[in-house]
């Protein structure tokens, strides 16, 4: 290693105090019916209760979400109030990188003594996208309605291109092979279902029961609804939407939330059911790829991170990424010279969907759980975000009980 770096030295993530909802595909569950912010806050309260962390311990709340929700103006203070706590906090977003940025912001908050126990709450609802109406003097209508989810997917104002076009462009640039892409997709599904059947997902996702306005059951969120077993043959038969991009080789929009805590070493030991496990933040990096090459941006971010820290893939125990396109994984494998089978071993957003705000938070939780199962080690988390951005971070998991 070039540098023995520690990012935010005061901050720790207490093991086992986290959780996520399952991520049902958009329009398939009761989550399409609710105020997602309120749902996320009440779910965070529920998850912390199940983890035996009293919300009284919270001193600050960092929200991460990308799609406007009702009463978003009141952001973190409102959501804290829904579970009875009057604590300060704020909201941030960076498209698909939100889930990681929220964790980093919380760590900065702890490091800067802005609160010893900071909650990270990330969420989004892609179902029934809100529509914003904006004044636009350059249009003859003078006002433009924007469907927040789909119209943003379909149009990057900086390049004039759609998200999916970046995957095709990147595939062409890196001369990817459709056959390999299908194999990656198939492998990712196999990994997901293996993790699910092993009970691994039970450590991460919490079944949640929703209520309607009358207080009667509205539905149970206990599956990544919409995710089905898939065959290699069926993938091969799929129509190509752009170079190496098929319906199977890209993620789908979904709804959900994920939460974790960032705190000090002392408080982490108090709050965690396994105080012998220490989780620290090591380093972070962000890059911006050339226009319309978003899928290569995560790899570039990891390379920048490795270059700065001296870490290499052989130092990494667990690699998890947000891969909206299988193309991302193929490029990573090429640029980092790393077998894509060894990434996302317990599932990934390509399979379980992409509610945006909480996606990388769930990936992180899965990565940390996997590292704990392995007895500790470094967790590499990376992903892309709108604007051809790539983010990456390294976390260090030490199981002092297993020394």
């Amino acid at each position: 290693m070039k540098h023995d770096t520690v990012l935010y030295p005061r901050a720790r993530i207490p093991y086992g105090t986290w959780g996520a909802s399952y991520f049902p595909a958009w329009q398939t569950s009761a989550l399409a019916e609710v105020n997602i912010g309120q749902f996320a806050a009440e779910s965070m309260n529920r998850i912390l209760g199940l983890r035996r962390v009293p919300t009284e311990a919270l001193e600050y709340l960092v929200l991460g979400s990308t799609i406007p929700w009702h009463w978003k103006f009141w952001n973190a203070p409102l959501l804290a109030a829904t579970f009875g706590r009057r604590i300060p906090g704020f909201h941030l977003e960076q498209a698909c990188a939100t889930g990681l940025q929220a964790v980093l912001a919380a760590a900065a908050q702890v490091d800067g003594h802005g609160g010893d126990v900071v909650g990270v709450l990330t969420f989004d609802r892609t179902s029934d996208s809100p529509v914003g109406v904006f004044p636009e003097r350059r249009s003859y209508e003078r006002t433009i309605p924007i469907n927040d989810v789909w119209e943003n997917f379909g149009f990057d104002p900086a390049t004039g291109k759609a998200m999916i076009a970046t995957a095709g462009a990147a595939a062409r640039k890196h001369k990817l092979d459709r056959q390999e892409i299908d194999e990656i997709v198939f492998c990712r599904y196999e990994q997901y279902f293996a993790a699910k059947h092993s009970g691994f997902l039970d450590k991460v996702c919490v079944p949640l029961d929703l209520l309607n306005l009358q207080g009667k059951p509205l539905g149970r969120i206990d599956q990544d609804t919409g995710v089905r077993q898939i065959t290699l043959e069926s993938l091969r038969q799929m129509r190509e939407l752009d170079t190496c991009v098929t319906g199977g080789g890209q993620t789908h929009a979904s709804d959900g939330m994920a939460t974790l805590l960032v705190t000090t070493a002392e408080r982490a030991a108090e709050l965690s059911p396994r105080p012998e496990i220490e989780i620290r933040l090591v380093a972070r990096a962000e890059v911006r790829a050339n226009p319309s090459l978003m899928p290569e941006a995560p790899s570039l971010a990891v390379m920048k991170l490795f270059e700065r820290t001296g870490v290499s893939m052989k130092d990494i125990a667990v690699a998890k990424c947000h891969n909206p396109f299988a193309v991302n994984d193929a490029i990573f494998s090429k640029l980092l010279d790393h077998d894509w089978h060894d990434v996302n071993r317990t599932g990934c957003s390509l399979v379980w969907g992409h509610p945006q705000g909480p996606t990388l938070t769930r990936s992180l939780i899965e990565g940390l759980e996997e590292a704990v199962e392995l007895g500790g080690g470094k967790v590499l988390l990376f992903g892309c975000a709108a604007g051809d951005v790539g983010v990456a971070a390294i976390f260090d998991v030490t199981d002092r009980g297993s020394r």
Partner: protein
Amino acid sequence: MVNKGTQTTSMRAHTLDTLGLGTPLAAFRAGRLPADAASLVDTIFGPANDRGSLVISGANGIVGAGKTMQFASRLQPFGVTVVGLDMANAPDGIGRKYPGLVASFGVEQAAKIMGSVVQMKYDGRTLPSALAGFKPRFLLEAIPEILALKRAHYALFRAAFPGIPIRSVTSGFPARELGVGVAHPAFPHEINKIFEIVEETPSASTQLLWALGLIPMEVSDDWSFILDVIFCGVTLAALRYHASSNMPYWKIDKFVRKYFGPNPLRAHDAIGAKGADFLTWSCLHHLAKEYGAVFEPTADLTERKDTGQNWYPPNHLRPLVDWALTPEADDELRTAIAGPVIQMTSLMLHERRSHLAQMNAIGELCAQFRRGVVAMIRSMGADRAIATVEAWHARHPEAATSAWYPDALDAVNEPEGQQLYVNAEHDGTVGVITLSRESYTSDVDEELNRAIGWLKAAGIDRVILSGDFHLSTQMVGADTTEFFPALDDASAGQALAERWSATARRLHTEFATSVGVITGKRCLGGMLELMAHCHVVVCTEGTQLGFPEVTLPVVPGMEACHWPFRKATKEGWTRLLGLLLSGHAVRADQAVGWLVDASGSIDEVLSTAWALAAGTSNIKRRSFEEGALKGLPGTAPDLPAVEGPALDAARKAIVDSVHASCGAPLAEAIHVQARHSGAFMTSSACRKGRVGSEFAKTMVV
């Protein structure tokens, strides 16, 4: 125990006697009630030609306004003016009560009552000069719960009106701290009749409360008395559980209601969170200082005493995420609520804060416990109760260090603890069984059986059955929560009906003479069925009698479908059927001869009942047919139109039950009618009706 004043023996002390009003048997023997309102009004407010006034200070507050209405409506007929005194800037709390007054009394009487209320404003330091003109003779203080403020207020009044009797409505401060007696009322203040009274000996003012139809209960001079230890205690338990589990307040409230009865946090919001949170915090804060950590207010309560935030979310933030509990978590929750409540009760038992029947009744009538705290501990048994507290202490060791008196729980095994709802008294010849609960439960049933057994063991075969003239002021029927297990199990409903009916039959079969005495506003349903089993029934003339089961709907299970028919003529059968099928009530004086045997004024009822029991009355018993009855009508005339299929189904089921049970000989009829009753409770009509809805609302959490 031997009652010295009346030379009688009773299972346990009568609560009436704690007011200095003797025992029910003495009232029956004397042929009159032990006190009357008119003479007590004279005693306290002066004679009619020099009548003084009742002053209520803080009269526009929640308590003050409610009590102003309650007392004005009761004292107006005696010409007593109620002076409502409050700060100059106080909002008009009294005026807001007027619509409720109209609803209860009608426009004309409401105007008269309001006409007896005089509102005065002042600055808190100088009494209005015009006040003296109203000749204040009694002060009921209802100002904020700040000790120094209260003391200064008393000094102000004593300086202006030397010797004026004062009672504070404080929910927490002992009389020794205040320097005045306490009359702590229970919410909702305009209708709740209960007052916790702290005074050295029962006073004329306390007896006047009783004579006006209210329910004063003498309690010891200890912090927060009984009601607020229980109510604030269960609130605190709920908040502590929230702090340890994160379960939302609204959800904890539902579980507390399911398992115990009250929903304390909703109650705070309903009363007005700002005031109620402060009162609860104040009580707990002082209790914690006096007794330790078991009463220590939680951080959220301390915060909300200042902010006054509601506990339930606002309408636009109705909860989205439910909280299911595993069996282990469910057990933990029950322990978290029951543990501290039992510990707090142990303290009250240790300090002997009141007659146990009163301690228990306060929990039921004022804190909405389905089973009062003493009865709850009794049903668990002292050992299990202690184990529950110890399990709770494992999570809250700080609470174990003080105010925990496990030995005091043995009080539930004493006669007072065993007979919380039913007492019996005799003079060697005549026995009097009194009911201290307005609705019939399995606990009442068990205690009634013990009371009958106790009298039989003493060789008593003449008995009067009545309310206790104190804790139960009317008889409303069976407690319908007892029916919940029967909603999906017909055999449970049948067993309940058979068990309760068998108890009622003992009044008929095990005594040479049994006299049912019905007083108060109403006697309905199961309680009327119980009374009907007595050989003779006498009622105050205006009392409303009825079988509202059809409106719930359920089929009567304590033999209303055949027992009264066996004592009635054919004309009476039609009326009885009309009563059963309409659910309407009838005045007692219009039911003589076919449902009851005599009616009259309260004094006439008391003396008649005594004469009947003593064998000196010339009222003849109606004959009782033990064989099958024939020629019963198929319906009753002038029934109100059927509204919905549930009522239609209930009427058919009741007619079927009447025909089947009347058509059976007496020995079989108990089972026949119980079978019909049990079967109907599993019907969709019952499940969709009031009992089923109540079950869904409280038990399906």
